[in-house]
Structures are given as C-alpha cells and as structure tokens.
C-alpha cells in the first residue's frame, strides 16, 4: 500500500526504496555490513560455553581502574581499539585489512593507484608507533588522576559459578606520566 502510494506520487523515491531493498538483501546474503544496511544480529547466534573470558584492564599502582566509571562513549574510545592494536602487534605490525584490500583491488589496478588506496585503508608503522602517545593523551583527558604510570593489561576472568579473575596479567603497553 505504502509502496503503491509512493509509486503513484513520487516515482524517483519508489526506485530508491526498491534499490535499497535489493541492496539490503544482497548485503544480508553476502554477510557484509554496509552502513546503513546493518546486519542487526543482536546476539542471535547460540553462544557456546567458554572456560574463560579475555578482559582488557588499566592497571595502576592503586589497582585496576573501572572503565564503567566513564561514560560508554569514553570507555569505548579508550578501551575498544586496544584489542585491535594488540592483535596487530601480535601480527608483527601488519594490518589485518591488507589481505582484504589485496583481494578486492590486487592485480586490478595500476600499482600507484593501488598503493594510494591501500594507504587510505590500512594503518602504517607511524600510526602504530604513535598509538600509545594518543592513548595517553585521551586517558589524561577522561580520567582525573595523579598516577605516575598506568599499564594496559590483558587478563582472564573465569566463571565457575561466580566470576573470578586470574591473578596473572600480560602487559600490552605502559604509559608514564612523570
């Protein structure tokens, strides 16, 4: 009914809707998220049991800092890029996106254009080396603190039942303020 009315009164918008519907189903079938054509899984998969859960924490001389004290926007910006940084660090500083860029554009474009495209999509060595300095600046902005240094650590939490944190942490990086 809606589409019929749109077709009769505003033909161009009708075709935009049809195109958007086809795009949505295409991207759903391909499993590609393509804003605003989201795949709103909303926890739809059956989540299997896990022995432990990896957590990223900020460790100070007074103990761990609670990221939930910050607003969600601040804690997302501060904490969510750390696993990405850590994975790339473990991958010998090679961005995970390089194979995807290669798959999409490799051997299809002249080398200089390909290099230009890749340069816009993947993080280079300069970005990785400047990451901890940026993190330190943003940390200072969102936390009112007087710490000499803080470490970002990776640890594990078990559930058996009740949550318990493993005492062993591995340091991802340390920031010194004084």
């Amino acid at each position: 009914m809606f589409l019929k009315k749109v077709y009769l009164q505003w033909r161009s918008f009708f075709w935009v809707i049809i195109f958007a519907l086809i795009a949505q189903f295409f991207f759903m079938a391909k499993g590609i998220e393509n804003i605003p054509f989201f795949l709103y899984h909303m926890f739809s998969y059956a989540h299997q049991p896990k022995d432990s859960f990896n957590v990223i924490l900020i460790k100070t001389q007074d103990g761990y800092l609670d990221p939930h004290e910050l607003s969600s926007r601040e804690s997302e910006m501060l904490m969510n890029n750390i696993p990405y940084f850590n994975q790339i660090k473990k991958n010998a500083w090679k961005d995970f996106l390089i194979p995807t860029v290669e798959k999409r554009f490799g051997n299809r474009l002249p080398m200089d254009i390909y290099n230009h495209l890749q340069g816009g999509l993947v993080n280079d060595s300069m970005a990785f080396s400047n990451y901890t300095s940026w993190w330190q600046r943003y940390f200072k902005r969102v936390y009112n603190h007087s710490f000499d240094s803080v470490s970002v650590v990776s640890g594990y939490v078990h559930y058996n039942p009740g949550f318990s944190k493993s005492p062993v942490d591995s340091i991802i990086f340390t920031c010194r303020f004084r």
Binding site: I32, D66, N123
Partner: protein, 278 residues
Amino acid sequence: MIAKVIYYPRKMMASIIFGWLFIILIYFFSTNSLLSQLQAPVLIYPGSDNSYWLLHIVRIPQWLLQHFRVSLAFDIILTISCIVCIFATDQRFFTWITVAGVWLLYICYCSAAGKHYAQIGYLLAPIPFLALKQYKFDYLWEGVRYWVCFLYASAGIYKLYYGGFTYALNMSHIMQQMNADWFIFHSRGIQANIISYLIDHPGISQWLFRLACLVDLSVIIGFFTKKFDNWLLLALVTFHLGNFFLLHIPFIEQSLIFAPFLPWKTWAKYFHSTNSND
C-alpha cells in the same frame, strides 16, 4: 464521503527532532566524544564496510581526526547547524550540513574506536527533513518508520534462524561474556545479584531472551498498522532498558530510533501545530 488526509506536523517535528539531536550532541560533548575532543586518534578501522572504505580512501576521516582546527571547526559547524534546524524548519541548507555532519561524526568515531557501532538512530531521524514538500516528508518519515520495523523484525528472525532462540543456555552465556569485566568492579548490589541469579538460572534467563525475540518479532505488526505504535514503543524502550541493565548496552544515541513510533499526529491536534508552508 472523502477521508481527510492527516499530515505529519513537519514544523513541530523538525523542532523536536533537531532539539533531541542537539541534546545528543551535548551528551557527546560532555563525554569527550566530539571530534575535537578525541585528541587526534592515530589508528583507523574501516573494516570491510564499503561506506567506510570510500571515505577513508579519499582520506576524509583521517583529515578530520588529525587536524585539531579542522575538527574543532567541524564540531562548531555541526552544532550551530543543528541549532539553526531547530528554529528554521523550512530550509534545506543547514539540514544537509547536519545530516552530513552526523554521518561523518559517526564514521570518524567508529573508525577511531576500532568498532563499528550499530547505534545509528541519530543518523536516520533527521533525513526526512531534507524534504520540504509535505507529501515527500510524509513518505520519507514513513520510510524511516518501515526501516526501523525491518531492523527489529530482522533481528528477531535472525535469533530464530541462527539458533539463539532455541539454545537453552544462550542468555546465560551471553551474560557471562558481557559481564566478565563489569563484575571485577561491581560484584555486590542489587544489579549484580540479579545478573548472577540469571546467569545461574539459565532457564529463566533464556525465557527473557525469548521474550526479547518476541518483542523484535512483534514489530512486524508495524508493517500493517500504526494502531499499536504506542505498545511497540513501550516494548522497544523496555527491551533497550533490559539490555542496558543486564548487558550494559547504552542507547542514548539510538534513542532517536524510537521517534517514528511517537504519536505525532495526535500531538499536532493537541498543540494545533501547522504543516510545512510548501
């Protein structure tokens, strides 16, 4: 007898929606998440999303994020445009700037944060106001409403299709995962007790999951009638409050997604609001 067509009160809606968006921008400012407050992030994360790729290839997010004066100008222009849209409802120029601005803000923030968030309510609701003609606005607004219906309905179908609905321990496992770091700091209190109880009683928590799935699926009604929009709105707000309480998923940015279910036409009658001049 000819049925009288009741239009959406475009002017009143523009003031409210852009006022709402302005509050969201204030929230971003108060939480250090406008572009100029991000301290020039260095990592980018375009993922495999074509929209992100296009903008990153032409270096727009990098340019906005890396230059403080540019990002400050961006934040100021976006905020002023949004304020103008609250009061000047029959223009397109500032609406375009606001719509483009929030989309750029979203992509830059997600790229720097290393995660593509699905909180896009504030990106969609302003779009219909790009139309000045009343009938075009009405179709765009209804289009956004159908899109929101599709969003939740597809989420419900996914939960059935991928087996989350039938797996008896699903919600308990989701809660373990989502609360692992939260419990390090909040192991006591009513909220912690309720979450622990639900994790330890998977039967009960899974029925909550199934209830959430039914809420998602109930939005299918919205494709056929607007009679139940108040109930759908109540169900969706409850659903998001539940997510916030049990899984710590906030929805302030997403809150504008509820706007299409508000009783705008009833309010218009009550406040005698007029439509667009066009």
